[in-house]
């Protein structure tokens, strides 16, 4: 049973668990999920892990922070948190995000419209802990009290005091990773408050001041990318070797000539994939190689680290890492002298390099950047490639990656492609800028420590899974192969984990893949269907 949660509870009973999440309380899934209406649930954190790791939020552990060794250490961490709050409010330390931060801190009316827009809150069966305002209002009160003049007095006189102690900061840190940064809340807010931005400011404070961040985003994310070129660990030699291997594989399978060009000086297009596609979804980069050649585009990949991986996990948690990676990407494009950069099927790359990058990259670092959706549309309608849409005669629905669609407003190019090439294309409800996040946004899809993956497939992705099932409710049986087109690497990975968890392929015949694969599948003249429905 859920108990009502008050803001002040976040500081109480430091080692105890703040809220209970029970599988029976979650939003019900539609009937017809093959008997999985409730889902298999999740693993508990083991006793041994509880003894070692901070586990005081909801029984789920994303970060795996080690327990503090002493009271002095706890006090020191709280002090660092306060100094971080002050830096967030300083123009010198936070020029990039200060203005939107202040707007979102100052104008919340507590109307809760955002909660009713939030996939995590709804998926959880309306658990108070996951209200966008729960995290944001605690943050707001701490900022007002500790980082603004006269705050301590005002906190006593005015709106209720939230005690700042070690329990407060460890829980806030973990809670900042129960949000997918999808910004559906911001879209729905009548005041324009962006709770996702507040969440990210919190993550940033913890990372930049205390060194608290998920290992998958930091040590094995941005640090690894800056060291070797990619969070996957692929060095330049390995990535070239892998692409060469794939060129041969797919040339044999399709009967087409495939040869990926590298480091072409002055090329029309520098294409930057998410490198995880090369390892986990190799049909996707192969499809781009086929399409670019067929349309006669002068394109290239870069083999200079990190120019072959558009990932930039800094956008999820840390401004310094974000700027380092974005700058390296921009420098590589400048050295190659390409006319434009096309960002592959990766949502957060769009956000980092198109939206945030616009504030970072000046002068000749600002090579024009184009979304993959627009690029693919121009290839499909160039008149240079022949298609037979009947080859795609199976049910297809489209997932809208939040960073590309809601945040950048790129809605129609991908739909014009699907309406042309997929006779059984159908929309989810709602879709476009009103879409729901896959549940893996904000870096969550690469995180799987302890029992975190169970949480993101059960809670964060729940409403999206429901939408997918409902989009195919006219042909629910596994004998009809169905395709969720998710043109974003992180979204695809989240769908894969979710579909595996629910047995969606075996029970419902649902598979996931990108957009370029669907386009190649409809091409005239390939030897056999490009999309392989895994048995």
């Amino acid at each position: 049973m859920k108990r009502p949660l008050r803001l002040e509870d976040i500081s109480r009973d430091g080692d105890g668990q703040l809220a209970e999440i029970e599988i029976g309380d979650l939003m019900p899934l539609p009937s017809g999920c093959g008997g999985l209406e409730r889902g298999p649930g999740w693993k508990a954190v083991s006793r041994e892990q509880k003894a070692r790791l901070v586990c005081n939020l909801d029984g789920v552990v994303a970060l795996g922070l080690p327990k503090a060794r002493s009271e002095q250490e706890k006090a020191k961490q709280v002090e660092l948190f306060i100094s971080g709050l002050r830096k967030l409010l300083s123009r010198q330390d936070n020029w990039t995000f200060l203005q939107p931060l202040l707007l979102s801190l100052d104008y919340c009316a507590q109307c809760q419209t955002c909660s009713e827009a939030c996939p995590v809150y709804l998926g959880s069966g309306r658990n108070d802990l996951y209200r966008p305002t729960y995290r944001a209002e605690i943050f707001r009160r701490l900022v007002n009290k500790h980082a603004r003049p006269g705050g301590k007095l005002l906190a006593k006189l005015y709106r209720g005091d939230v005690e700042l102690n070690w329990a407060t900061i460890t829980r806030l840190c973990e809670l900042s990773y129960r949000c997918t940064l999808c910004r559906r809340c911001a879209q729905s807010c009548p005041m324009g408050v962006d709770n996702a931005l507040l969440t990210r400011e919190l993550r940033k404070l913890f990372s930049q001041e205390l060194g608290w961040s998920p290992e998958e985003l930091h040590e094995k994310g941005t640090v690894l990318q800056l060291e070797v070129g990619s969070p996957t660990g692929m060095k330049p030699r390995v990535v070239r070797d892998n692409i060469e291997f794939l060129d041969k594989e797919f040339a044999d399978a399709t009967g087409l000539e495939i040869s990926t060009p590298w480091d072409q000086q002055g090329a029309e297009v520098l294409l930057i994939h998410g490198a995880g596609d090369i390892l986990s979804w190799p049909e996707n980069p192969a499809a781009f190689a086929i399409l670019c050649r067929a349309a006669g585009i002068g394109w290239t990949l870069s083999s200079e680290a990190p120019g072959y991986d558009g990932a930039n996990y800094g956008v999820f948690y840390d401004d310094v890492q974000l700027a380092r990676i974005a700058t390296r990407h921009a420098q590589i494009a400048r050295r190659l002298g390409v006319k434009k950069i096309v960002m592959g099927e990766c949502g957060h790359q769009h956000k980092a390099f198109m939206a945030v990058g616009d504030r970072l990259l000046a002068g000749d670092l600002n090579t024009p950047r184009e979304s993959v959706m627009v690029f693919l549309e121009s290839l499909v309608f160039s008149g240079k490639i022949r298609f037979d849409p009947s080859k795609n005669n199976f049910p297809v629905t489209l997932h809208d990656p939040c960073n590309i669609v809601r945040s950048l407003g790129i809605v129609e190019p991908q739909r014009r492609i699907l309406r042309y090439l997929c006779p059984q294309f159908r929309e989810m409800t709602p879709h476009g800028v009103d879409n729901y996040c896959c549940g893996g946004g904000g870096g969550l899809s690469v995180m799987s420590q302890t029992n975190f993956m169970d949480w993101r497939v059960n809670v964060a992705g729940r409403i999206k899974f429901k939408q997918v099932v409902e989009a195919f409710s006219d042909q629910p049986g596994p004998e009809v192969k169905k395709y969720v087109c998710a043109p974003c690497l992180n979204c695809k990975n989240q769908f894969r984990d979710m579909f595996e968890h629910y047995g969606a392929r075996e029970r419902l015949g649902i598979a996931v893949g990108g957009l370029a694969e669907l386009i190649v599948n409809a091409m005239v003249g390939i030897r056999k269907p490009f999309i392989e429905w895994q048995e």
Binding site: E48, Q49, R52, G64, E216, K220, G221, L224, V228, S230, P231, T232, G233, M234, K235, V238, D241, N242, F245, L246, E249, G274, A275, G276, D277, I278, L279, S280, P282, D309, A311, C346, S445, V446, S448, Q449, T450, L489, N490, N493, Q534, E535
Partner: protein, 105 residues
Amino acid sequence: MPQMELAGSMYEVDEKGFLQETDKWNEDIAKAYAALEGVTELTEEHWEVIRYLRGYYLENGICPMVRRLTKATGLGLKRLYELFPEGPARSACKWAGVPKPTGCV
């Protein structure tokens, strides 16, 4: 860093039980991991996969893409899941003592 007992010795592992120091791996460790997942006997097919994964990792610093693994060993994905209950990344890499893949994979 968590510790785990495998084949009578303690080793450093990550939260998912993956061996942290790949050079401390030996065949008994592979057998111990397999036993924990209910596989009591490792066949030549198992060893072929494990040897390939270790060889590729030591040369390239990451695990191979599944497509390379299936091509090199001639074993399909379905067969790999029969041999390694949690699949190539979560079981086979673990038994081979190499880190699971990182990043958006």
